[in-house]
Symmetry: C2
Subunit: 370 residues, 2 copies
């Protein structure tokens, strides 16, 4: 997807250098800066501090982190240590574990001397597959949007999204935003309501940035406003991403998603979740109270970064540090509130039986591919 | 209610000076500064820029604004101009119009030479009545909390509130927070989840400040978190204020209230609204799409004020001004989601028939008093 008119991925490797580069997303939308990851710890730090975030991009970054770690220690013990270290950076996203498991399996099949090479190939493959998967999610989701738009010709389809599930959350295209990019390419007029997404403001900082760079009409709102917009009739569909979806179709995503799903249901507005199949945690049935919810630092709520009067980035405290704060990062939207799961394999209802069918289909395909 | 261990009202008149003073709430929680209102325009500006906010305090400030205006022009035309000017400052709160109408009626009954005196007396009476009304709301609400707490002895009752409906939103005591202050006095243990309340952060800035000064346990959360806390079983009751409630029991309050009401209903958690009867707009039946919803400036969402690295208050931009923003300030919670209305006359169900009964009761009392 384009930035300043040029195509970009959110993570890439400089030719012949074996150093992955990322965009430091904590500086967006104020400044667009690339950052080089030179070690396993660099990668872990980038994930922990959310320079990279979004389930698919976390997975891709961890894969490269493992490759960087292998340069120092290609032993099985070293590999398993590195894997554990990376998995501990963020507890909720399931792609992180998925990407690490895939890397470990692939790498352990090789002799120690070949492991680093194999890791670089595997990480690159994870990235390329992510791009292809998301583009496919975009095509599948476009059909959903097209159908919804059919009932209001000559007017833009009004889409509400939460957090950032765009190309910055993946390697490219995004999940929830991929159908929107495909809609633009197909000439289907859309307008996107962008939830600010406190406490880290990924909506206002990242989604609005992405949409502006792509020239897609959008409006930033506070997280409190979505229900009122639905009451006004100004939302046709809600489209969000997912950090982990259970085998029963419960969707764990950025905190606040559940509230928007409730409002959508109250107005019979379709609520779709776009996700790669790798985001489904087949080991979990019900999600509420079961998916581990990351509790992040109070400072994320208390301290806000923005451009100060002198033009520099400044951090300001909204209130002082003695005020107690709770900061859960995710919530679970029960499957009963989800209209459909938009995956690279098609649209699935958020129901155990349908998802079981998806699982079997994916296992068969993977089996055939390998 | 206390600040720094001393009792304060949110608006008061210096003895013999006929100058009302307010606390500049836009500087809280960073700095506690009184400000003198010397003219009608000072009062209008204080309301418009939200140095004072909260439906009852807006009404009280407007009453003093009218008194200040009469010093310059005690004619009926001047009075009506002043009234119109004040009413235009905030379109949603119904107490504003209620207080102005009461002032105009009272003042017009006097000869021109007596009008200013009468206005000062009437404004003071509005303030004193507000304090008494809110204290009564506190007593009525305490019984509601006591009943809820009975099912969990030895554990604090977990209350979630949105925005600020405390003493800073009224002349003293508050509406939603009055029962909490009464609970503290009665030795009933409570803990309050304080919604940050974007975009102006009245929860984190004002409610948390009030609760801290009174020594009531509380935790600030982002507006997105309430649903998750309910999923975790950490909320026993939601208690909010109201800017305007219709005769059918639909509750207009700070944007985002509706989303919390939906989540409460999804968990069968009681959702109470505390309000003086003067907040009820008897002219409106259904509220959704009917109560005028103030659209405020984009800069409220884009610009955040906090304490910068040097200790000064600094405004920072979260994103640049070309990004489109929508900023509706209120939403309407349909009566079907409201467990009860806590008023100075008792707890009423949010239903047309019950509220008709309340109206008749109030009219009878007012008739007898006058």
């Amino acid at each position: 997807v384009n930035v300043f008119g040029r195509p970009f991925r959110s993570i890439w490797v400089e030719p012949d250098a074996r150093v992955p580069r990322i965009i430091d997303q904590t500086l967006l939308p104020h400044s667009f800066e690339a950052r080089t990851l030179t070690s396993l710890e660099d990668a872990a730090e980038a994930i922990r501090s959310m320079r990279v975030r979004g389930a698919p991009l976390i997975g891709a970054t961890a894969a490269y982190g493992l490759a960087l770690g292998l340069a120092n220690d290609p032993s099985e013990a070293g590999l398993r240590d590195a894997a554990r270290h990376l998995i501990e950076t963020r507890p909720t996203a399931v792609n992180l574990r998925w990407a690490i498991d895939r890397m470990v399996d692939g790498v352990l099949a090789c002799a120690e001397g070949d492991r680093a090479d194999r890791a670089w190939v595997e990480a690159a493959q994870i990235c390329d597959e992510d791009v292809a998967t998301n583009e496919r999610i975009g095509e599948v989701g476009l059909e959903v949007l097209r159908e919804l738009a059919a009932s209001k010709p000559n007017e833009p389809l009004q889409i509400l999204t939460h957090c950032n599930a765009g190309w910055l959350a993946t390697v490219d295209w995004g999940t929830a935003l991929a159908p929107i990019y495909k809609a633009q390419a197909a000439g289907l007029p859309v307008h996107v309501w962008v939830d600010e997404t406190r406490p880290r403001n990924q909506g206002a900082s990242l989604t609005a940035f992405e949409l502006r760079e792509q020239g897609i009409p959008h409006t930033v709102i506070v997280d409190n406003a979505g229900g009122h917009l639905m009451q006004r009739g100004d939302v046709d569909v809600v489209l969000v991403g997912s950090d982990r979806t259970t085998a029963h179709g419960d969707v764990c995503n950025k905190i606040g998603t559940y509230l928007k799903a409730l409002a959508a249901r109250d107005h019979e507005i379709p609520f779709y979740v776009a996700l790669p199949v790798s985001t489904i945690d087949w080991t979990l049935g019900a999600g509420v109270g079961v998916v581990p919810i990351e509790e992040r630092a109070a400072s994320e709520v208390r301290v806000v970064r923005g451009r100060g009067p002198s033009g520099d980035l400044v951090e300001v405290e909204l209130f002082d540090a003695v005020t107690p704060v709770a900061n859960p990062a995710f919530d679970v939207t029960p499957s009963r509130l989800v209209t459909g799961l938009v995956t690279e394999c098609g649209v699935y209802p958020a129901e155990p039986l349908a998802l079981q069918g998806l699982k079997e289909r994916v296992e068969k395909t993977t089996g055939r591919d390998r």
